[in-house]
Symmetry: C3
Subunit: 443 residues, 3 copies
């Protein structure tokens, strides 16, 4: 501010020298920088908040899966979820991030790889938007995307629960999350061929949820149903052992979705992020109402599991288009997702595809629905392109998961033996119980 007092004393002198306007402008420039710095900081801060929200989804998945299955397999499920987030973060650092965002593609828009590991020199640290204003750091970019990566594998975990061998599952999901998820993800979010074609998937109805969902479908097909699930032509419901835990899971997932969708704006843009909060919340609410109503009508009883899955159905459904559909469309998308999830659960049971937590119905069926809904409810997006995207991910992930699961099956086997399945994987695989001291009669 010293320049200022000089100016006050000697305005005319100042006007005749070269440095005045420069100083005035430099001052203005500094101010511009200060505003942009603050914008960079708030953008980055929001993305870190979104990051920890996506992180907590992993506790949501763990709780939901454990709650909807039997007490005798709880430790196994918790172990898998603790391991997956850890494996997912580390593999994403080693290889996933640079596969998903390769920079350049070496095979058209189909495949690229930016090298092993993460780390940059300071001058590359800030990632800026088109206007040059920083939106986040390189590190934020990595950790936000890393939190996403592991969700795909976690989705599989619920579908194959209560009968898959622990190490077989861990090997499958390590490779799926390290290689398949980022590779197909690059097609859209890495700027690959589907991105160039105009395919739209805002936060991952297809790229995350259906990618996990397809692997879940393959896993369930190969494993077969749990013992006693389909007997003499009938369907025997196998009840979850802890509904408060399942409810905690769904609420934490809903919470995390504010980061999953809200962070996918990739900045703290006030209008976009807040709009995404609204569409996300209302779609989830409509999903609950949809699933609750239809299941109440069909089963004559209000079904908590269905209401909970309805919330997730609405959330998965809105994920592809949360920023490009209207509020009313979001409600319709969520409501239909709520109907769909109930129908899908019933159809899968008819097909003897035993998915203990409804992961295929929630993540695959509603993931497809949400992606197609963008082509229906947003005038700027083509239904056909959306369909091509859905099909491309479907074919690729189905084949990749099938090959991977078959290789793992050939080497290690997939399913625990009958005796272990009866006593539960907690004692069988881990030698411990989830609820030591409690009197529990296992079905």
């Amino acid at each position: 501010m010293k320049a200022l007092s000089v100016l006050r004393l000697l305005p005319l002198v100042a006007l005749l020298t070269a440095w005045l306007p420069t100083a005035a402008l430099a001052e203005g420039e500094a101010a511009v920088v200060a505003g942009a710095d603050a914008m960079y900081t708030v953008n980055n801060t929001w993305m870190l908040v979104a990051t920890f929200l996506v992180f907590i989804m992993h506790l949501g998945f763990a709780s939901l899966e454990a709650g909807l299955t039997r007490a005798k397999n709880t430790v196994n499920i918790l172990f898998k979820n603790t391991a997956i987030i850890s494996i997912g973060l580390l593999t994403y650092a080693v290889v996933g991030f640079n596969l998903m965002y390769p920079g350049d593609f070496s095979l058209g828009g189909w495949f690229g790889f930016g090298g092993f590991g993460i780390g940059v020199s300071p001058e590359d640290m800030m990632v800026a938007g088109d206007d040059g204003v920083g939106i986040y750091t390189y590190w934020t970019d990595f950790i936000f995307q890393a939190m996403f990566a592991a969700t795909a594998a976690t989705i599989v975990s619920g579908a194959v629960a209560e009968r898959i061998k622990l190490h077989s599952f861990l090997i499958f999901s390590t490779i799926y999350v390290a290689l398949v998820y980022p590779w197909v993800g690059s097609w859209k979010w890495g700027g690959g061929w589907l991105d160039e074609m105009g395919f739209y998937d805002f936060a991952g109805s297809t790229l995350v949820h259906s990618v996990g969902g397809w692997a879940a479908l393959v896993g369930v097909s190969l494993l077969g149903p749990r013992l006693g699930k389909y007997v003499s032509g009938g369907i025997k419901p196998i009840l979850g052992h802890n509904m408060p835990l399942a409810t905690i899971g769904v609420f934490l997932l809903w919470l995390g979705w504010f980061g999953f969708n809200g962070g996918s704006v990739l900045s703290a843009d006030p209008e976009l992020v807040s709009f995404v909060f609204v569409t996300t919340s209302l779609a989830a609410a409509a999903g609950v109402i949809g699933a609750m109503t239809i299941s109440w009508i069909i089963q004559k009883k209000p079904d908590l599991s269905m209401a909970l899955n309805g919330a997730l159905a609405g959330l998965v459904g809105i994920t592809a288009g949360a920023d490009v559909v209207s509020v009313m469309s979001a409600v319709i998308i969520g409501l239909l997702a709520g109907f769909l999830v109930v129908a899908s659960v019933m159809v899968l049971d008819r097909c003897k595809l035993d998915d203990p937590v409804g992961a295929i119905s929630v993540h695959l069926v509603c993931g497809i629905w949400g992606t197609l809904a963008v082509g229906i409810f947003s005038a700027e997006h083509s239904f056909v392109t959306q369909l091509i995207g859905v099909a491309a991910y479907g074919v690729t992930c189905f084949i990749a998961a099938m090959v991977l699961f078959l290789v793992v099956k050939a080497i290690f086997g997939l399913r625990v033996d009958e005796k272990e399945e009866m006593i539960g994987l907690d004692l069988g695989e881990h030698g411990m119980e989830a609820y030591s001291g409690f009197e529990i009669h296992n079905s």
Copy 2:
């Protein structure tokens, strides 16, 4: 920055032309805008953080209510809470928001309605403060308030638990949250008659908590106590079935309160938000100490339920004045709220008002206390005006809840039959158990 180099080369020419000062100012102006843009973004981001914090309170309520009641009614409680947040969000979008913030009142400051549905044209998107700096978007305004709305109904849920018919409760709370809550809310937060009178309720000791509390009181009175609660002149404690779940509930509520109170600043103002964090935290802590001490003295045993309700008592108590009382006053308000909640629980039991989770004591009694405390501890607010506000909400909500409950009772009945109450609402209403496989002996 091109202008800059020109200036360096030709300062004198520049001084003699009209565009120099304009350019210099325009540069400065751009800088001002950039700073204001960043401020708008951080304000809005904080409000969205507050929004997801208030969202998680619904999981807090669900956990607390389920934990403090019996295992046989757990599914029912979880179902109600999942349904209420969903219904609350949707009805607030359809009618609540425009009832609560009508813009203009058609009946003095008593009633106004801005029309059905939400949605605006882009030019109305930014909501700015008095200085013209944006504080949040229209969408943020909606979704933050929408998260609040459902809490009022959730409060009722705990008080009427273990004996109310599911559909009767859902119908009551849908109407209460869609119409009554926003209508009476408009009197203060919508700029209505109580606001003009100088009534103060920062974040809703009265507007949210007592509004729910009055309906809880009416519901409990109409339903009568649970079977076996008051027998042969004595009070038989009916214990909660899952204290870790109740504790999770209280900590999540406390967490959510940082958004409930912190977001009620309606901007990210550093001094106000951080001050509110301090008063909120210390009042909650003092509430724990107050309830813990007094119950330890009276019952000779340190009571976990009372300590937990003490935290909520302190939080409800500080909600009305978190930004206008001193730190020391916040501690006193919380401490007294802790005493009050214990006394109230005992008095209600004497009156045979059976409130399984203490919702009336926490939300109504401490809501009134907190509102009156503003008139005591803040020199700028009148005790009499605070009392008028409390009375106005009391009379209106009591009558509204009474009429609504009586109409619902006349049409659908309120209470499940005795047999269903004995076997529990989980089997009775939902045909499922919360803890399948566990050996549980119901009281």
Copy 3:
């Protein structure tokens, strides 16, 4: 903007008067302020987010401790954790904050006290960085640090669980958190002698975790093992009663650590905070992998408790150097912490030091490891100085905890009687059960 139109009309006149450059600069200056205001606001907002994240760690501790111990002591553990956070917040307001950040030291860098209570005049409200830009308010500074304070006492809680008298524990931890934690904390974070010596502890591997860990070690030594733990030369595992609860605990602690470490940047600096997110996450993940692998090899079974403690080990390990070690170093630190925690649990059991939740192994052993790791993996820090710091805290905290525990033991006794330990502290101390209605056979 009025000045602007004048300028447009009368540029030459303006140039010849004294106020033009002043106005131009003032405009620029206002712009600088606007940017700085926004930066202050986002810095402060991030610190408040970090504050609520650290708050939720207390729920994490409560859940983890309750989950890893027996059902008959659950209410007692939940009560302790609810009480400690409340006591911690209040004592930190009364005395702790001004002991830890005394401003001036009266005894060299060894002891200082800024007076009782908190509260400032408005002109002191903003705490600014070296560049004059605000980073948080006085209130934020207090509440963020207050949330930290109680964690030290909570760490002790888990180690002494299932056998310590409630009031003895509360008296010990009140004094420890009110006086010892802030006093020794002042040596580094308050600018005391260890800070001047160049000792480095970013977020508290030593100042928080080992301070709690030393007291845990003393408590465990004085109390002796739980009945039946070490019988006839063998070690009898006493299993936790609720593994979902323990898992919830660990995930919430991991979540909270984003605030614990991320907030310790003491601003929203994009590069530093995001880098800390990355090192923290990868160290936690590596800790899981380390503990999982080593325990799988040794015990032949994948152990969920070890995997969970591995996450915490990695988190405690990275806490001292999260901002100064490389990503690869963070992974190595976490991995070794995962090995260490498993080894330490086994060694402690050999020494008949019975720590039900592994608190000493996680917080003390990995706290020391993390502090020394700064001297190994960061070229700018001295291993010897780190060792001096570790020793200084070790000697002081060990002696302080020993004296305190012995005084409490002499006056009130430390351990519940044998009968109470058998029936459990829930019935013995609180007269209530955590899981009313459930059939539980206690070991």
